[in-house]
Symmetry: C2
Subunit: 407 residues, 2 copies
């Protein structure tokens, strides 16, 4: 017997038929003798509809009201799943965030979970009742207003609930059947990973593999929650996200991933004096523009430097406007931007103990004549920025170079 | 300065543009120096959609889950109206039933309000903040589950809130601009009433004039809440529902109304012995079939009686089945039913002090050759059952006979 938290996203509960399939999956776990709490998202499309309503109600809106509005979608799914489970003869009840309660801070729109009261729920789970929990929401205790956890917050709800309930596993059911070594739509040889470490999953999530919300992985790592990414539609084992120690034969590189949401900005011939980086990135940070990769080179012109960095594509225009506004204080000679770039990364905790991983990457790309524009590295990741037209070729070459192809 | 509760139904908040119009109406009351609480329904169609979901989830469903599901529509409207009001520079916040709280009994699906905690809301109203309250819902205190008040329950929410807040007026905004002496689609001369008594309104509501929920009128009468029925779409005075004493020149008859939802069942030659009525209406009551008008006549056959009564059209088949099942114990000779009948009623508290009201009715109908099948009377109402084909003629004749036509 185990205690399990199951989480189903919007496409998995998109209509009544799918909710009925979900109920069957829940019942199967229960019939295996497990205690089950289920976390559900809103039916696909509902949250976007509610956000659209709010945006057309007012250009600037109170985030407390936004939270009260958008949290309603999850309440509907939770009630419906409880009804379907009862119809299958399963004892079940729905829980809204304030009923549990899931206490959060007061950062409406992107609140952080602070505590979950589980005494009553735990008692009911032990008696065989299924808890159906509305994801994505909580309550801010001081004023008793509803909060939401930000997009993808139901993953975080599930992991936090698993931690609070001392669950043996937290299964995230989604429309993919696990985490792959690369994007299977591009790399034919991509394989599903049976296991992946929290650190690797974190890098993948932050690089745009939209399987899990970054924050939920951080939380799972912190609390040692065993996560599993599984398919809602097929009954297959998925990918377990676990501690490094649980992975016996660790590959050097676990995956090759990419992000198209990149744009490159270059400032040429910036005076090379102390404080110049602060003069550039300070105003960008104030404008809430996220800067990712940064490289600084000696410029062709004496006593000046060239500075290149990347931002999200949607933020290029705003970033350029900020830099133009501060042109005098920064003192660059030329400001250039480029959209047609992508970031390709190889990820693996095995890198820590293996030399030459970056070298393999550079060699494989060079062999195909792919020019590297920017390089950044971390302990378990090497990322390069390349021209977008080479994306597919780069992914396939790297996937082979690290021996990840299906045998 | 007055304290006002305004209630807007589903068609009044059907989309964002209409919610914006509602906000303007609210702001106008505020600008006049009033304190304002607003009760809103779900956007038109939303509650039906949620009920459909629940019904397709399971044939029999837990009413606690039904309540958790269907109450979400009102939460969305309340949040959206608060957002729009804030955008107009009005201080506002939304309240869900459990946040106030509106305490109800545990009769899920048709709960009754027991108490409303208004200390905090009252303080905020005094400070100029508008309270936007999700109608139709409450919380059952023992288990902290959400309850709903039954169809049209937002009217009841509004009246109960007005009573609890000691409001000077409760304005029900709807898609008609008031209560009419008769159906203006049938009777050209129908006039809007400036005032009507609670008792008359109750009779009208229970007779199918779907302007106000019966229960909300009862509650307004009990707590002396001054109700006003007004148009959401035009800025015109509506109809005030008040105590009899507030009406200076009371007409004998205030309105002529009708109900098409009638069917007649006749049992012929039933043995005329004590207990026979119980033998007929007992089984019908057990089957939860509502019986309305009842008449008993001496039959042509000796020592037997003919018994006629009306039920809702949707319940005729069930009622006949029940009566056939009990045919032996009742002992009737013939069982007949008729669908093409309507109930026409004249209503007025003035009847109490005026003789001849029923006589005028019978005379007017006789003059047009309209046969009366069944008659029932109460202190302030005379109802007759007639063939449906005469409905329009009967309404117009009675409207004239009582001098109600527009001058």
């Amino acid at each position: 017997m185990a205690r399990i938290v199951m989480k189903f996203g919007g496409t998995s509960v998109a209509d009544i038929d799918r909710i009925k399939s979900v109920a069957q999956r829940v019942k199967a776990e229960l019939d295996d003798g497990n205690e089950v709490a289920v976390v559900v998202s809103a039916m696909a499309g509902v949250t976007n509809q509610l956000i659209d309503y709010t945006r057309s109600a007012a250009r600037l809106y109170d985030l407390r009201e936004y939270d009260a509005i958008v949290s309603s979608g999850e309440n509907v799914t939770a009630g419906l799943l409880a009804v379907v489970l009862q119809d299958l003869g399963v004892s079940a009840r729905s829980w809204q965030g304030w009923q549990i309660p899931i206490r959060t801070d007061a950062s409406h729109g992107s609140a952080r979970i602070e505590a979950i009261e589980t005494t009553e729920m735990s008692r009911r789970l032990s008696s065989g009742e299924v808890a159906v929990v509305a994801g994505f929401q909580g309550i801010e205790p001081e004023r008793q207003r509803i909060t939401t956890l930000g997009r993808g917050g139901s993953d975080t709800s599930a992991v936090a609930l698993a931690a609070a309930l001392g669950a043996d596993r937290c299964d995230i059911y989604t429309d993919v059947d696990g985490v792959y070594t690369s994007d299977p739509r591009i790399v034919k040889g991509a394989r599903k990973l049976n296991r992946i470490t929290y650190e690797e999953m974190l890098e993948m999530a932050s690089l745009g593999a939209k399987v899990l919300q970054t924050r939920s992985v951080e939380m799972a790592m912190k609390h040692g929650v065993r996560l599993q990414v599984r398919s809602s539609f097929e009954n297959l084992p998925g990918t377990l996200v676990v501690d490094e120690e649980e992975i016996v034969e660790q590959a050097v590189v676990s995956g090759v991933t990419y992000s198209r949401d990149e744009a490159k900005i270059t400032l040429r011939s910036v005076p090379d004096r102390p404080g110049i980086a602060a003069g550039i990135f300070g105003p960008l940070a104030e404008a809430a523009i996220n800067v990712d990769m940064i490289v600084q080179n000696i410029s062709s012109k004496e006593k000046t430097t060239d500075l290149t960095f990347t931002v999200g594509r949607a933020e290029v225009e705003r970033a350029l406007a900020v830099l133009e506004k501060h042109a005098e204080s920064i003192g660059y000679e030329e400001l250039a931007s480029e959209h047609n770039v992508v970031k390709v990364s190889v990820i693996g905790v095995g890198m820590r103990s293996h030399a030459g991983v970056a070298q393999t990457m550079f060699g494989a790309l060079a062999e195909k004549g792919i020019n590297i524009e920017v390089i950044t590295t971390s302990e378990i990741k090497v990322s390069v920025l390349i021209a977008e037209e080479y994306l597919e070729l780069a992914l396939r070459s790297l996937h082979s170079a690290y021996g990840l192809d299906k045998v």
